[in-house]
Symmetry: C2
C-alpha cells in the first residue's frame, strides 16, 4: 500500500496543542494521528487508525492463540444487569447514563462483566462446556472526572476485555495463567518496557490480581519494587501489622501543655523544649500519632466520616486511601463537619474521642505500624494539649486497621525481599480472578459431573488498546517527534522525494511501487512544492522507523536510508535500495 | 483457521425466538450468529462476528479502491455542531441524548455529517487539498420507535459512512459517480439481488440521491420500476401536475343533499341513486375529491394541521406523506382537533373551508392529479351535503400541491417509460449530493484558485453494514437454514465427523489440518457424543456453503461433499478431497 502525502488526510502542526501536557498527547496531535472532538473524546485520523488497528491485531492474535473466542457486545446496555450487581450505583458519576424514548434506563458500558456473565448463562449449562474464554475489542465509556493526556485517559476508548469461565478454582488459576502468558506476549510485541505488579482488585471484587504497567515517568500509577523481586502497585502494598511490644515499662499516660502546636513539626519542637524525653534521645515525628479526618461520599450520595491514625512522620496516600474505601470517594472533612461534632478539637484530636465507641462516634482505623503496646504522643482532645505515653491497647483502641499511609522509597518490601523503590507507570493491562461475584449476582450456574448446580468462577482480563497507542508514543519519541516500533508503525518506510527534477519523483514513485509490490506499506512524500526541510521535519515528527530520501544523492546513484531511532544514515546504491529496505525492515 | 464445534461458543436453537418475524432474524438467532441484548440492540457471537467482519472488509476494500481514506470518529459527540445544523432538534426522539457529569449535552451519533465537515474545516484550507473522500466504519445510534427484525433495523448498528468534499458541482458529480461505482462493486460482491432507485434526500437536504435496495419481500421500502428503466423509491416518485382542462362547459357548482354518506363508497352510491350524471356514465370514486386531515408534530413539539385533497379513488400513502413533511411526524387528526375547529363538518369537509385563506385556516395541499379546470364532487362543509361541479381554479383554490397519494401498479412512470410495478426492498446503501447545506451551516470554506473563499460542496454515502448481514441472510436461506454466499460465509468448509470409530475423527482432524494449512477456514464438527442427525441439522442451519462429511463412506475410501445451496452431493476419494474442496471453494 502506498500512502501519498500529497493526498493523505493529514496536516502536521508545528505548535503543541494548548491542552496537551505529556509528550504522547502533544506528538500524536501534532503528527496528525488523533484530533480532539470533545473533552476526553478523540477522532482517529488515517495515520492514527493504522496504528490503532495494528495494536488491535496483536492483541487479537495473542488472544486467539490461547483459544479465547472473539465476540462483540453493544456499547449501549440495559440497566437491569448492572443493577443486579450493584454497579449501576457503585460507578457513580463515572457511568454515562441515558434514557431511551420509552424512558428505559440505559448506560454506555464501562466494562462488560455483567453482559459476558449473562451470555454464558444464556448459552451454556454444563461443566462440559467449560473452560471458556471469550473476549471483545470494543468501545468503552467512562465519564472521567479529569480526562487527560489525550487518549491516555479518555472518556471513549477501545479496550480488549476478556473473561474466563471455569467450574472450579484450579480451572480459574489455569485460565488466569493462560491470559498472563498471552499478556506477556502482547506487551513484548508492543515493545513496552513494562512491569507486572500486584494490584488491588478494587470495585471489581475477586482475589488474585495483577497489573501490567508500562514504565513511564508521566504515568498515573505509582508502583514499588524491590531488588528481590517484589513488585506492586502502590495501592496494593500491604504493610504487615507490627508485632505487639511490651508496654509494662511505659509510664501512665500524661496530658501535657502544648500551646500553638497544630502541626507535627511544631509539636515535636514544643515537646523537646518543654517536655524532653528521659531516655536521652529527642522526640521525633515518628513518636507522634497523627489522626486525620476525611469524609467518605458513597455512590448514593450519603456521607460518612472516617478517622485514620498514622505515625506522624508518614502522610496519608490519597490513592491508597481511595483504593481502600472504593466505591466511596474521599473528600475533605470541612469546617461544617467540625461544627457538627463538638467532641473534635481541631489540631489536637486524639483517640480519646475517636472510634465508634467514643464521643465522636467516628470510625477510627489505624495504620498497621501502630503496634499493640506501642506508646504515642497524640492529641488530648483539648485545644493546646497533647497526651504522652498513650499506649495502644492499654489506653486506646481503634475499630480496625487501614492500608492508607504512604509507601516510601527505602521501606522494606512486605515479603522481606529488600528495600522498595518507587517508579511511575501506565496501566496497560489488568488481569484478575473475579471468582464468583458476578456469577452469584446473576445466577450463572452449570451442572457439575454429579448433576449438581454449581456457580461458575470467572476471571476478567483487560488491555487498554487506545491507551496502548499513547503509551507506546510516550515511551518511543525524542525531541523531534515519534519513533514507532516497527510492528506498530503506520508504514514500513517513509519515502521522501526532494528536489525539483521530475526524474527524482519518477524514481521515487518507481521505488514506492516496487516496495508496495513486495508487500510493504510506503508513506510516500510526493509533495512537489514543499521544501526538503519541511519534509524532513514531517518525517521525524511522524516517526516511521525507516526513512529513505530520493534527493541529491541520486545524481551519484545513491539513496539515503536513515534509521529514525538511531539517526544513522547510509547511502545505498539505487539498484540495491529495495532489497536493502526489505532486509532492514524484516530483520 | 479451525473452529471446533466442541469448544466453539455456539448453541443452535431448534425454536424460533418469540420476537422474530422475518426469516433472517429467526435464522441468525437460531444458528447462533446474534443474540438480543436489549430491544434493537444485539450481541455478535463468534460466527456472526466473522460474517460481519467479512462484510466490513469488502466495504473497506472498495472504498480504499476509490481513494477514500479511513478514519474513525467517536460515537459520543458534543451537542454544538448538531445544534448549528438544526439536527439536534430535527432528529426528535430518534436521537439518543445524554448529559455528562458536568451537565454538558452530548449525543450518540446517528450519522456524522457535522463531524466530517468540522474535521475538514480543521485540517484543510485550500482548493489544492480537494477533492477528498473520507470514511469510517463505525457504530451508529438511533432510538427507533419500532426496532424490528433483529439487526435489520436496530438501535445500535454498524454503518460505513463516507463524505466527499469538492470545490465545485462538477467535482461533486465526479465524487458521486466514484462512490456509485464502488457501491455497485460492493453490492455485487455481497451477492445481493439489488436495484438502484431514485431516492428522497429527506432530512439530509441536498439534490441527487439514489438508494441501493436489496430486493426482499420482507423489506421495509417499497419501490416502483418500469420496463423502460425508471426505478424509484415510492417516496421519491414525483407525479407530474396534470395539465389544465377547459371548464367552460361545466355547470355552476351545486350543493346536493347526500345524507349518511361519510365514505366515498356511500357517497358514490347516493349520487348515482339521487343525482345521476347527465352524460350517460355513472359517478365513480374518481369523480370525488377526498379531503384528508392530518396533524403534523414538529420536532420541537408544536402541532400544525394539514389538509390534503386527493381523488377519491386514491389513498394517501403514509410513507410518501411522511417523506414530504419531514422532519415533522404525522399523527391522526383527532376528535379534540375537530372540536377546536368548528368550521369542519366531519365526513363532509370541502375546499370551501380549507386553505389558509378560508374559515379553517388549515393549510390545504392538492394531489397534482387535480388539474386546473377539473370538476369534482366534494364535501359541502355541512353534515349530509356535498357539492357537485366544483371546479378547481373557478370555485376553489389550494395552498399548493403535495406528493402524498399512493402510487399504484399500472400507473404510468413519471418519465413515460411505461407502467410501474412495485416491489419491496431493504435499503442497503444511500448516496447523495448534500451540496453546501452542512458546509454553509458550519462555515467550511477554502480558498479557490483566485484566492477567494468559497464554500465546499459535499456528498454523503452510507452502507448499512450490520444490516447487510441480515439482508444477505434474508436473501440466502431455505427452510432448513442459512445458505451464505462464499465470500461472506463464517467458514469455507463445514467438516462433519460422524460415527463412533476414533479413526473417523482422526481422519477428519487430519483433513481439517490440511485444509487449514492451505489457507481455508474450517468449521469442524468434532463433537463426539452428538448424533449425525443433529450435526447435519446444525450444518444446514449454520449455512456454510460447502459441507464435507467424514462418515460411513470412509470405509470405502470416500468422503461426501455437499453443496448447501443446490443440495448436490458427491463421494470424493479421500486422497482427492482436499484438492477437490480447494477447487470448489476457489472457483
Amino acid at each position: 500500500m502506498i500512502l501519498r502525502m500529497s493526498s493523505l488526510f493529514l496536516r502536521t502542526l508545528r505548535e503543541d496543542p494548548a491542552d496537551a501536557e505529556v509528550p504522547s498527547h502533544k506528538l500524536l496531535v501534532r503528527a496528525g494521528y488523533i484530533r480532539r472532538t470533545a473533552p476526553g473524546v478523540y477522532t482517529w485520523l488515517p495515520l492514527g487508525l493504522r496504528v490503532l488497528r495494528k495494536v488491535e491485531r496483536i492483541v487479537r492474535e495473542e488472544m486467539d492463540a490461547i483459544g479465547a473466542q472473539e465476540l462483540v457486545f453493544p456499547a449501549i446496555l440495559p440497566r437491569e444487569p448492572y443493577e443486579a450487581t450493584g454497579r449501576w450505583t457503585e460507578y457513580g458519576p463515572n457511568l454515562f447514563r441515558l434514557k431511551d424514548r420509552k424512558g428505559a434506563d440505559m448506560l454506555l458500558g464501562p466494562t462488560h462483566e455483567e453482559m459476558f456473565t449473562l451470555v454464558v448463562k444464556d448459552l451454556y449449562s454444563s461443566y462440559k462446556d467449560l473452560p471458556l474464554s471469550i473476549y471483545q475489542i470494543q468501545n468503552k465509556y467512562r465519564d472521567e472526572a479529569r480526562p487527560r493526556a489525550g487518549v491516555l485517559r479518555g472518556r471513549e476508548f477501545v479496550m480488549k476485555d476478556s473473561y474466563s469461565f471455569d467450574i472450579d478454582d484450579a480451572g480459574l488459576a489455569a485460565s488466569y495463567e493462560a491470559h498472563r502468558g498471552a499478556y506477556i506476549k502482547i506487551f513484548d510485541r508492543l515493545g513496552f518496557d513494562y512491569v507486572i505488579v500486584q494490584a488491588m482488585s478494587g470495585a471489581m471484587g475477586g482475589s488474585r490480581s495483577e497489573e501490567f504497567l508500562a514504565i513511564a515517568e508521566n504515568g498515573e500509577d505509582t508502583f514499588v519494587r524491590s531488588a528481590g523481586g517484589y513488585a506492586a502497585n502502590v495501592e496494593a502494598v500491604v504493610v504487615a501489622q507490627s508485632a505487639p511490644v511490651d508496654a509494662s515499662a511505659v509510664p501512665a499516660a500524661e496530658v501535657v501543655d502544648t500551646p500553638d502546636t497544630p502541626t507535627i513539626d511544631t509539636l515535636v519542637d514544643a515537646l523537646n523544649a518543654k517536655h524532653p524525653r528521659t531516655d536521652g534521645r529527642e522526640w521525633t515525628a515518628a513518636d507522634t500519632l497523627k489522626n486525620v479526618l476525611v469524609m467518605l461520599v458513597n455512590p448514593d450520595g450519603t456521607r460518612e466520616p472516617l478517622a485514620i491514625g498514622v505515625p506522624g512522620d508518614r502522610a496519608i496516600d490519597e490513592k491508597r486511601l481511595g483504593a481502600q474505601v472504593e466505591p466511596a470517594e474521599v473528600v475533605a472533612f470541612d469546617e461544617s463537619d467540625f461544627e457538627k461534632n463538638p467532641a473534635l478539637a481541631k489540631g489536637y484530636i486524639g483517640p480519646g474521642v475517636l472510634g465508634s465507641e467514643n464521643a465522636s462516634k467516628i470510625r477510627y482505623l489505624l495504620d498497621p505500624r501502630v503496634a499493640e503496646g506501642s506508646a504515642w504522643v497524640t492529641g488530648a482532645d483539648k485545644s493546646g494539649y497533647h497526651v504522652i505515653n498513650l499506649v495502644h491497647g492499654r489506653d486506646f483502641t481503634a475499630d480496625g486497621t487501614i492500608q492508607a499511609a504512604e509507601v516510601r522509597d527505602g521501606d522494606e518490601a512486605p515479603d522481606g525481599s529488600g528495600p522498595l523503590e518507587s517508579a511511575r507507570g501506565i496501566e496497560m493491562g489488568h488481569i484478575f480472578q473475579l471468582g464468583r461475584k458476578y456469577a452469584d449476582a446473576l445466577d450463572l450456574k452449570v451442572l457439575d459431573q454429579n448433576g449438581k448446580l454449581v456457580t461458575v468462577t470467572m476471571g476478567s482480563y483487560g488491555v487498554g488498546v487506545t491507551r496502548a497507542v499513547a503509551a507506546i508514543a510516550e515511551g518511543n519519541h525524542d525531541e523531534l517527534g515519534l519513533v514507532w516500533p516497527r510492528e506498530i508503525a503506520p508504514a514500513d518506510v517513509h519515502l521522501v522525494a526532494t528536489g525539483k527534477d521530475p526524474e527524482l519523483f519518477a524514481k521515487a514513485a518507481e521505488i514506492a511501487a516496487e516496495l508496495e509490490s513486495r508487500g510493504l506499506t510506503v508513506l510516500y512524500d510526493d509533495r512537489e512544492k514543499v521544501s526538503p526541510g519541511v519534509k524532513f521535519k514531517d518525517a521525524e515528527l511522524i516517526g516511521v522507523p525507516t526513512i529513505a530520501v530520493v534527493g541529491k544523492g541520486l545524481a551519484d546513484g545513491t539513496i539515503e536510508v536513515k534509521d529514525r531511532r538511531s539517526n544513522t544514515r547510509a547511502d545505498i546504491p539505487v539498484a540495491d535500495v529495495v532489497d536493502h529496505l526489505l532486509t532492514t525492515i524484516r530483520s
